[in-house]
């Protein structure tokens, strides 16, 4: 969990994933695992030499803010990636080592309705173009973990573990840590063009609805979520079969959903001559807030399913 804590607390907004990438690379080097970095900044690990190519991706980036205007002790920003503006009021952010507080003046879902109070009247060491990220605070309970950016970092953590433990039999597996997922999957698309896999499984986070007032059927610690379709990708029936068979073998029960969310599978599956793709997701409460919650059993179950796919 130390590794996941480090990943979760690290700052890595879309397009600025350096710190997160470095942690991942360090971990790969520590375990003597060969890797590649491409033009976009994706990190690729290739294992196995089966006849079919399988690409499994997890993204490194999180949503954040980019400074557009500095007004004495207050910042105006634009959002990097999609984030529900109306739920940000009161959230704390970190920018250049300083702490700021988001205030949503009109309570609207409009980025121009918020400013960041840097709580100082002295000269602010912040310039236009600087990135602000939600304040971190990883913590572990008996069955849950919580922190920021689990939507990306928990999946990177899962992928790293799977890389270490896997011994691919039928596939040549390309494990890809992608950039700019929150910006319509730009990193994943480029990686897919390069790798040109036969199958692609995209790891994402799925909003869970297991709290008062939420509607839906996804809960924490009830298994990884098989997305039959989302806003940008309809799962290929063969990929669905691969995932379902592996889950059965691993004795893991999957939750199923027709999701209202997006994924980097959207741009990916339209690349080259078309790629058979699907999304396997980790249930997460309060996605894109500074304190997301995920289930520890789900992390383990997801690893089991992925290992069973590969072997």
């Amino acid at each position: 969990m130390e590794l996941l804590k480090k990943l979760s607390n690290a700052s890595g907004v879309s397009g600025r994933e350096t710190v997160v990438r470095d942690i991942i690379i360090e971990e790969l080097k520590k375990n003597n695992i060969e890797f590649n970095q491409d033009n976009m900044g994706n990190v690729l690990v290739k294992k196995g030499n089966g006849s079919k190519k399988l690409m499994i991706s997890a993204h490194m980036d999180e949503t954040g803010f980019i400074t557009t205007f500095v007004d004495k002790g207050f910042l105006r920003v634009s959002n990097v990636g999609n984030i529900k503006i109306e739920s940000l009021d009161g959230e704390l952010v970190k920018i250049n080592g300083l702490t700021g507080k988001i205030v949503n003046i009109k309570g609207e879902d409009d980025i121009n309705s918020i400013f960041i109070d840097m709580m100082t009247d002295e000269k602010l060491e912040v310039n236009e173009g600087d990135i602000a990220v939600l304040k971190s605070g990883f913590s572990e309970e008996s069955s849950y973990i919580s922190g920021k950016a689990l939507v990306s970092r928990a999946l990177c953590y899962i992928l790293l573990d799977v890389i270490k433990k896997s011994d691919p039999k039928d596939f040549t597996v390309y494990f890809v840590f992608t950039v700019q997922n929150e910006l319509r999957g730009r990193g994943a698309r480029a990686a897919a063009y390069e790798v040109n896999p036969d199958y692609a499984i995209v790891l994402e986070g799925e909003n869970s609805n297991d709290y008062p007032g939420a509607e839906g059927n996804i809960s924490l610690n009830h298994g990884p979520v098989l997305r039959l379709m989302d806003k940008v990708l309809i799962i290929h029936h063969q990929v669905r079969e691969i995932i379902e068979k592996a889950a059965e073998k691993a004795k893991v029960s999957l939750q199923k959903t027709v999701s209202n969310e997006s994924s980097e599978g959207g741009e990916l599956h339209k690349e080259v001559s078309g790629i058979k793709a699907g999304v396997l997701a980790l249930p997460i409460r309060y996605k894109n807030s500074s304190l997301e919650v995920a289930g520890k059993r789900d992390l383990e179950d997801m690893k089991k399913v992925l290992l069973n796919i590969i072997e």
Partner: protein, 346 residues
């Protein structure tokens, strides 16, 4: 195979976005005499009619149709669902077929009107207020149906007056049939051009198949064939398409101006009725993605006018389908003699 027969087979069967392979056998049967058939990773279907030369023309009509998808189980055999690109008002009091492990009949009904309050009576229904009734227990239902299973409105192929027909998914099976019509017209003719008939996947969810199909085939010219709105009472008032007026040729930045002029010349020369419509930007069809594939592809959009789009009673004139196929065939033959470089240069 006759055009009306083929349209009936296509529209009374089911090919939701993502599962165009459901109709692969029927497509193979129909197009077998006209070219080599294959299916891509994401279910684009290619029919390649070899020519003696190097030029490639790609025709594309999408095989997928708008559909319903099961999103959750309610109680007592009732299912929650949603539709992509479908107006819930069109689904009230309909019989549906759920394509699970076997076909299951469902009924979408509404609350008895005398139990509705004033607001419910005036407002349109929403997907949240609709359920599919299967008359089965949840236990039996779950053996055959799961979240993500597709469903469609059961609609017989209905013949109206004057060669008009009403059916579901004329968008874009009418386009597919016009490609068959074109293939029939070209049969036996010696062409230098290689003609690719593409039945694209997932157009209705964002023309997702077109990009990879165009990448795969890398044609010199791409022609998308889709349906378009008529300009009647329930149609669009920003154009003048009439059922029976022939294929509608699109004018706008998505369409190569020289090619478009040539196709209209062809229609005039061969006495084929045609219409025109203007699209100032995104045509919302496969043509949009074809044009920017690879290094860019000169593109045309030809559309068959239709009434009541995305309902289960789309109305189309069979003569328009046949004339579209004829126009495409004559256009391909005209281009066959020309030097493409001359035609396409700016």
């Amino acid at each position: 195979m006759e055009e009306k027969e083929f349209l009936k087979i296509l529209t009374t069967n089911f090919s939701p976005s993502g599962r165009e392979d459901f109709l692969y056998e029927e497509i193979k049967k129909a197009f077998q005499p006209y070219g080599e058939i294959s299916i891509s990773n994401i279910n684009n279907i290619y029919v390649k009619r070899k020519g003696s030369g190097k030029n490639k023309i790609m025709l594309m009509a999408h095989l997928d149709e708008v559909a319903l998808v099961i999103t959750d189980f309610n109680k007592d055999g009732f299912l929650k669902f949603k539709g992509i690109g479908i107006d819930p008002k069109t689904l009230v009091s309909q019989e549906v077929v759920i394509k699970g492990k076997e076909d299951i009949t469902g009924i979408i009904g509404i609350k008895p009107p005398h139990l509705m309050n004033e607001e419910e009576k005036d407002k349109a229904v929403t997907f949240q207020s609709l359920l599919i009734d299967t008359g089965l227990s949840n236990q039996k239902l779950k053996e055959k149906v799961s979240i993500g299973t597709f469903a469609y409105v059961k609609r017989d192929f209905t013949e109206l007056l004057h060669n008009n027909v009403a059916c579901k998914s004329a968008d874009d099976k009418a386009g597919v049939v016009s490609m068959l019509s074109c293939a029939k017209e070209l049969e036996g003719k010696d062409l230098k051009t290689n003609v690719y008939f593409v039945l694209s996947a997932q157009e209705e969810v964002g023309h997702r198949g077109a990009k990879s199909a165009a990448y795969e085939i890398a044609p010199d010219i791409g022609i998308a064939i889709d349906v378009t709105f008529d300009s009647g009472k329930f149609g669009a008032d920003d154009r003048e398409n009439k059922l029976g007026g022939g294929p509608s040729v699109c004018i706008g930045p998505n369409c190569h101006p020289k090619l478009r002029k040539m196709v209209i010349e062809t229609a005039k020369e061969c006495n084929i009725p045609y219409q025109v419509e203007v699209e100032p930007g995104n045509t919302g069809t496969d043509a949009w993605d074809i044009q920017i594939a690879r290094e860019g592809i000169p593109t045309l959009l030809i559309s068959i006018p239709e009434k009541y789009m995305h309902t289960s009673v789309e109305v189309i004139d069979m003569d328009d389908i046949i004339n579209t196929g004829l126009l495409l065939a004559k256009f391909i033959q005209k281009l066959d003699d020309e030097s493409l470089e001359e035609v396409l240069c700016f």
